[in-house]
């Protein structure tokens, strides 16, 4: 297979035709912040966190095919500021109360925000009123943290072949819905070991009967940044599945 090259922040990166900027960067061990991307599923480019500049124009690294000789800017004050603003908007749109969230410490939204140096959400909070779904015996869904990345939708469709999740509504009214007669997780074919349960970058999927198992200081992102530790989905992968 032909191998071509492009550049990320001046560094020579090899790629195969068809690979995205994100694919090639991940292979080369270069971190580009992202939330809705998971290499196991088709990229959708919805969270925009992976925005980079390709030859001076903004593109999302997870959907843009790498091009030979292309010059990609990933780490710059300007791009970092854009990513910070995107994160701040995600934080105020939902109810992200980290001190009361079981996912805290191994939450990718939090970890990316640490990585870009976000100290506060800055904007006015929406405090949306979202319900919990505790109808399933093994898994609770807390929609307050949903950032509409669509990863559970893709994992349920492509991985589990169950189509349990979908995003419904438009614009600010977009929300996650469940494919069951009552709209509740407990009435669906969901199983706590489904791939869809392991890909959530935030704290929507919370396994029942356990919580706060890892002490503060020893959690995934407590000591090292996400650029070194990697995505939370990578840690969740069930044994035997690549």
């Amino acid at each position: 297979m032909t191998q071509c090259h492009f550049f990320i922040d001046g560094k020579d990166i090899p790629f195969h035709p068809g690979q995205t900027i994100m694919d090639a960067a991940m292979t080369a061990g270069i971190y580009i912040p992202h939330l809705c991307h998971n290499p196991d599923y088709e990229p959708t480019g919805s969270c925009r966190l992976c925005l980079v500049k390709l030859n001076g124009r903004y593109v999302s690294a997870c959907t843009r095919p790498a091009q030979a000789g292309g010059k990609v800017e990933n780490q710059s004050e300007e791009i970092n500021q854009q990513r910070k603003t995107l994160l701040q908007m995600l934080f105020v749109e939902g109810n992200h109360q980290c001190p009361g969230c079981e996912k805290s410490g191994r939450c990718q939204l939090q970890a990316v925000a640490y990585y870009v140096g976000m100290l506060s959400p800055y904007f006015t909070h929406f405090y949306p009123n979202r319900q919990l779904d505790a109808s399933h015996p093994e898994m609770m869904l807390d929609f307050n943290r949903c950032i509409l990345c669509g990863l559970c939708v893709r994992a349920s469709h492509d991985g589990d072949k169950k189509d349990i999740f979908a995003i419904s509504g438009r614009g600010i009214k977009s929300h996650l819905v469940i494919n069951s007669p009552s709209g509740k997780l407990g009435d669906s074919h969901f199983n706590a070991h489904d791939l869809a349960a392991s890909v959530c970058p935030v704290g929507v999927f919370l396994p029942k009967h356990k919580g706060y198992e890892v002490p503060i200081g020893q959690r995934l992102y407590d000591r090292q940044p996400i650029s070194q530790v990697g995505d939370v989905a990578g840690q969740n992968k069930p044994a035997g599945r690549s």
């Binding site: 109360q97 009361g100 925000a113 640490y114 100290l119 506060s120 006015t124 503060i216």
Partner: protein, 179 residues
């Protein structure tokens, strides 16, 4: 009057955890009091706010008293610092924002488990609750934020010492967390 930097602190709708964390700088407190003079603060129990260089505010804004205290601190300070999750995004108290004030009061004072003599308190001295809990930046201008629930003593120390030295503030990775 000494030429030390004058610092005041307050806890609004918070749990005093951030103030506890300030005390958690341990023996460095002795170094700190060589550098700063504490004005109104729960630590020394001074009740009157005088003009200060730095005001450190813990907790969000949940009632009319919080609004008044916060605005007074803002008027009297050059630099106002939001410390901790509640001051920054409302924190745990803001979890009541999904409910009406009526529902919250009824849950606490009428329908709650173990409530004796159910009655919603209405003493005029009790500050009225706001409809929602707000982070302080929605009420006053904030110069600095220090996240954490609470921020560690080390993070507070890094913040204060670098602020006092007039440097841009840089925290080691493990000193910034939202919980």
């Amino acid at each position: 009057m000494s030429d030390k930097l004058r610092v005041a602190t307050a806890s609004l709708a918070g749990c005093f955890g951030c103030h506890m964390s300030l005390l958690d700088i341990d023996e460095r407190l002795l170094e700190l009091i060589m550098l700063v003079e504490f004005e109104r603060s729960p630590i020394n129990d001074i009740k009157q706010i005088e003009p200060v260089d730095v005001a450190i505010i813990e907790g969000g804004v949940a009632n009319t008293d919080n609004v008044e205290v916060l605005r007074e601190f803002r008027r009297q300070s050059n630099i106002l610092v939001a410390i901790g999750a509640c001051a920054i995004n409302g924190g745990i108290p803001a979890m009541r924002n999904h409910f009406s004030v009526k529902e919250c009061l009824e849950e606490s004072y009428i329908n709650g488990i173990g409530v004796l003599n159910p009655m919603i308190p209405n003493d005029p001295e009790i500050p009225l609750l706001l409809n929602k809990v707000h982070p302080i930046h929605e009420v006053v201008k904030v110069e600095y934020v220090l996240p954490g629930c609470p921020p560690s003593g080390d993070a507070i120390w890094t913040f204060l010492t670098e602020l006092l030295e007039g440097r841009p503030i840089h925290f080691p990775y493990n000193e910034i967390h939202y919980d």
